[in-house]
Symmetry: C2
Subunit: 334 residues, 2 copies
DNA sequence: AAGCTCAGTGTAAGCGCTTACATAAAGTAT
DNA sequence: ATACTTTATGTAAGCGCTTACACTGAGCTT
């Protein structure tokens, strides 16, 4: 057993050429004459040779690998965008390495270092909020990074995303326009999460603009899960006066709220209106269907991939791009 | 700009020791005396040194990396198990590399080669069905592999999973016991997917055992998505005589069927009963709630991680393990 | 025909680490 | 005090690739 794995040298010997030629056959076939290439390829097949990636990275100082760190893979929020991201990378010969940080900054930091140590040529990050020195670190390691799912033209690295503040402001305006005055919010945890914070601010802005005092806004910050949404909604409903509209930080929270409403015998949208964010598949499945914000996940993933590859290849200094969101009016808001 | 990234040599020089000592400080701190270690660590911090992973893998011939290839990340089916898998790996210093094959064998093959080339110490695969030579390839490369989400004590590699056939048989029995005789199935695509095939077989077995002719079973094979489930259900309902129970290959298909039923004005479970598989969160959210099969995702991920690490470290030849599933009776079956 | 260019190939120097082995110093047993 | 361990560190040989540079010979130009 333990038959040794074939190396470039073995291939070279079998084909009767130098290692350089084998390497060129594999990486720049055009630079090798056809007869030679045939010999080499025959040897590659015969030996079942696969290049050793670590050796290649080390010698070439280039890994054709892009790393992405998302807060979670546990729900579908990032899955769609990431899928598009990965497809775009794959089409140009890059590999995607994904890891999840469980919304924990220290884990994210570790993952960033891990990915850099693994030779990632570039990094996709979600949102801006992290220690500033991490950006310095990336700069020092010459690893370009791009932020997605958030937008800030003046951030430390470029971003491709949408305006969380404006989107949530628009949703809230829609609620106020329908006569709602007592508004509550179930928000994601804002600390360390600029997206959550901006969404919360968006609600406040809309209220202020429409002459509804934002001071009266009841806010519960909680984890982005269905269960948390359920619990938060129950707590909100226990307060008096009761809110007539509950703005949720994302669809999961809204779905949880909906479940809770059912348990409590509260009719949505009859007694209370509800809105979400993300327009996950789930939003169309629940009863009543969810008014929410549709985000161009696939477009974002695609654009992020293109931009990041350009940055890695030095053909772009890194350009930010703002994508449009859209309010999807469904049954849960009345 | 382009300040060079510090290397082990730089650290060694700054600390006034040899590279071997620095390496030992990082990997086997116990073998270095404290005063030396302090000097080294100070240099590491001062330089912001991070070991180069490719170099380490190459020199040590060990990457502490485990690869996993799942059919999809697009829904939550594998997310939970994978999360547990990753946590268990992380706890023992391993890193997980995930990629998704989009249910395509040729992509999976490529991913397997990619992960091996990247020096994965071991591989987690889903289900057994793939070219036999892939198993040979892994054996030749000395990369242990483990199959999850399926069980076969005599497979080419060990497995940790559950009995798809028995579980689906039990669900079907439950339907027949409630008086259903005209049964239909919305199955996943069986070609290249042993889990889907086994689930389909489970339905047939139960029918045969209960004296219901399996020949009458209407089967539609389709992709594991909500939309596909919707379309399939509509097609099934157009047939006469209509089935009174529709067994679905997983929860997504069942949810799709439910949506379709609503559109068509068919009452579930009044007119037609419905069952799913996986017990995703979704199963408790839809109306009516879904009768389905609960799978111990977390336990499976954890067990798979433990076993695979043992295989990688040579402390286990690879032991298969069968986990129990459980039928969860909810409103959709009557 | 001399001098070019240039395509195709080979030579060999690393890339940044780990680790077997060598060495030195200190501790222990006799 | 001698010989033998043990412990801490250093030396240097790779690991399997890529690529700058050198080389060769064929085809051009003049």
């Amino acid at each position: 057993m333990n038959e040794p794995v074939p190396t470039l040298d073995d291939v070279a010997k079998m084909a009767g050429v130098s290692t350089a030629t084998v390497s060129r056959c594999l990486n720049e076939p055009g630079k090798v004459i056809e007869t030679t290439r045939d010999k080499v390829m025959k040897a590659v097949d015969a030996l079942g040779y696969t290049p050793n990636f670590a050796a290649r990275v080390m010698a070439a100082k280039r890994s054709y690998t892009i790393g992405a760190i998302v807060p979670t893979l546990d729900n579908a929020i990032f899955a769609k965008g990431l899928q598009a991201f990965q497809e775009a990378l794959h089409a140009r010969g890059y590999t995607l390495l994904v890891s999840s940080s469980a919304y924990k900054p220290e884990i994210e930091k570790e993952q960033i270092r891990t990915l850099v140590a693994r030779g990632a040529d570039g990094l996709l990050l979600i949102g801006y909020e992290r220690e500033g020195q991490l950006y310095d670190y990336l700069a020092r390691q010459n690893v370009p990074a791009l932020v997605a799912w958030a937008f800030d033209a003046d951030g430390p690295v470029p971003s491709i995303g949408f305006d969380n503040h404006a989107a949530m402001r628009a949703v809230t305006q829609a609620a106020i326009d329908r006569g709602h005055r007592r508004i509550a919010m179930i928000s994601g945890v804002c600390e360390g999460n600029d997206r959550a914070q901006k969404r919360l601010d968006g609600v406040k802005t809309a209220m202020a603009e429409k002459g509804v005092s934002p001071d009266a806004l009841a806010v519960i910050e909680t984890a982005y899960t269905i269960e948390a949404g359920e619990a938060a909604f129950a707590r909100l409903m226990a307060r008096t006066p009761r809110a007539t509209a509950v703005i949720c930080g994302n669809d999961l929270l809204a779905v949880g709220a909906l479940q809770s409403a059912k348990t409590l015998g509260i009719d949505v949208p009859g007694d209370v209106s509800l809105t979400g964010f993300d327009d996950m598949e789930l939003a169309r499945i629940v009863q009543p269907t969810l008014t929410t914000v549709s985000v161009p996940h696939r477009e974002m993933g695609q654009a992020a991939a293109d931009e990041l590859m350009a940055m890695v290849e030095g053909t772009s200094p890194g350009r930010s791009r703002l994508l449009e969101t859209e309010i999807v009016l469904r049954a849960s808001l009345r």
